[in-house]
């Protein structure tokens, strides 16, 4: 990798002011994705601002009865938090489904939100890529696109967001707290990541220099039934081909409330809101679940090599909902 200047931020304000002065400055915390990208010359920052020692490592209860998760909480600590394990099992399991123990020990919550696609064309600088360099083209659209998007893609980019944790956070209606030079703001999770459109170089709606400080989890009464199903090419330590985060609130046999989000299908964690609306008031049975799955995938536009993802996603949604209807657990 190219060399860079290194500074250790001594406060959030200090970090934000350094990163806001120069667009070639990047934050680093766990570094598990950024160091890898720098080795591949995908990112060549002039300066790294190390935020890893800032005081954003706590998980606290909010007044509303949810959780405020500091941006520097490691993936391991969030997945292992007793309250998350019992009240938001879909979040624990989504994190445990991702990467390996070594990576989860280093990777932070803020960094997980900022990780970039593992599209092999993005990763290989011998190829053009609109995400790496705008207006150069997208060889994935016509190349080997087995792992790519089936929903919300554009002519510019068919890459998918690689995160598991973010799928659960989307389903749980989390919010992202960020700090910039202009002050603090809170972004609903579903608005944090972007669809590619004609600006696939922008993954998120963060403004230049903004730093994630926390993720806010609202209380979700039925999150205890939440499940996370991840399907991949090998049983562990692989990115999702597709994944599903789902939770159901039942009143007897009837569905009162539902959450469904998909991973591995789009440029952002994909919340299936229309399917959720359909589920409300219906009987919790196989036929309802497969109808909801049809609705969730009705706009799917598969590419040459990923048509299998459509059927796989539908079946995964049905299975995840069935397990959630039984109270949750391993899908």
């Amino acid at each position: 990798m190219n060399n860079f200047a290194y500074v250790r931020a001594n406060s959030v304000e200090d970090a934000v002011s350094r990163a806001s002065q120069d667009s070639n400055v990047m934050y680093i915390a766990g570094g598990t994705n950024l160091v890898d990208r720098m080795k591949g010359f995908l990112d060549e920052p002039s300066q790294l601002v190390d935020v890893s020692r800032l005081a954003m490592k706590k998980i606290e209860r909010t007044q509303e009865g949810g959780l405020k998760i500091g941006a520097l909480v490691t993936n391991t600590d969030l997945a292992g938090c007793a309250e998350v394990r019992s009240n938001y099992p879909m979040l624990s399991r989504s994190i445990l489904a991702g990467a390996s123990q070594q990576i989860r020990n280093m990777a932070t919550v803020g960094g997980n939100l900022m990780q970039r696609t593992r599209c092999p064309y993005y990763y290989d600088t011998a190829f053009a890529c609109n995400k790496r360099q705008p207006n150069t083209g997208c060889p994935a659209a016509t190349g080997i696109n087995r792992t790519h998007a089936i929903l919300g893609a554009s002519e510019s980019c068919v890459a998918v967001n690689p995160s598991d944790m973010c799928v659960a956070l989307a389903a749980l209606d989390a919010e992202v707290k960020v700090r910039g030079v202009a002050g603090e703001r809170q972004i609903p999770f579903v608005d944090f990541h972007r669809l590619p459109g004609n600006t696939p170089n922008r993954d998120t709606n963060l403004e230049p220099g903004e730093l994630i400080t926390a993720v806010i989890l609202p209380p979700v009464s039925f999150a205890k039934s939440g499940v996370y199903l991840k399907l991949r090419d090998r049983a562990s330590y692989a990115f999702a081909l597709i994944s599903v985060a789902a939770a159901l609130e039942l009143s007897g046999e009837q569905i009162k409330n539902a959450r469904v989000a998909l991973g591995g299908v789009a440029h952002k964690p994909w919340r299936a809101t229309e399917a959720e609306e359909f589920l409300k008031g219906k009987r919790a049975d196989k036929s309802t679940f497969s109808q909801a799955a049809e609705i969730a995938l009705k706009d799917a536009k598969p590419l040459a090599h990923n048509q299998f993802k459509v059927k796989l996603s539908k079946r995964a949604i049905s299975r995840a909902l069935s397990v959630s209807a039984r109270g949750g657990g391993v899908v």
Binding site: V35, D36, R85, Q102, A235, V330
Partner: protein, 183 residues
């Protein structure tokens, strides 16, 4: 100049910010036990412990680890007495070529601590009930070690080594499935 505490000793190094912990260990300090397999966080051969937690030393910058307690494979034994996990790898043929072994052993040492501290994994049936060492299943061991690849595929021996270090009775290496395959 940066100062790193490695295997209990404070070391002063003159390295650029871009130098990874793995390269600092191998190239600057002569600690070549940690191996460079993929150098991209995909194989696990570079696994070391930082403040007791296993990490990939290829994915972190040396400069970011100032003030932390770093333990490498060289720091596990006490003099000529092997760490119990090292001994278990020998007892159970937990390797063939040996290249991934330092990473496998460091990862296994951390794995045992994690289980002792009540950690759960993706395959734990009930997240509110963490598995115990004595009953840690093969599925749990495999899931928890999935971040370390062995291209000789000595996985049976590796799992047996972890079982032994967990206080379980692993199958004898002599009773491998080779016999059943031949007959």
């Amino acid at each position: 100049m940066i100062r790193l505490k490695i295997n209990g000793q404070l070391q002063t190094l003159n390295v650029e910010p871009r130098v990874t912990l793995l390269d600092a260990l191998r190239e600057n300090l002569g600690l070549t036990g940690s191996k460079k397999g993929c150098d991209r966080g995909q194989c696990g051969a570079c696994t070391v412990l930082i403040d007791g937690q296993r990490v990939y030393s290829c994915l972190t910058l040396a400069i970011m680890q100032e003030g932390k307690e770093i333990t490498t494979i060289e720091g596990l034994a006490t003099g000529d007495n092997l760490h119990p996990v090292q001994a278990a790898f020998i007892d159970n043929d937990g390797f063939q070529c040996g290249y991934c072994t330092p990473g496998q052993i460091c990862a296994s040492v951390a794995l045992l601590d994690e289980v002792k501290n009540g950690s759960v994994s993706y395959v734990t049936p009930d997240l509110t009930s963490a598995p115990q060492l004595a009953s840690l299943s093969e599925a749990e061991i495999k899931e928890r070690l999935s971040g370390n690849l062995c291209r000789c595929s000595a996985y049976n021996g590796i799992v047996a080594a972890v079982q032994q270090a967990s206080g379980q009775n692993p199958p004898s290496p002599a009773a491998s499935n080779l016999g059943t395959e031949v007959s």
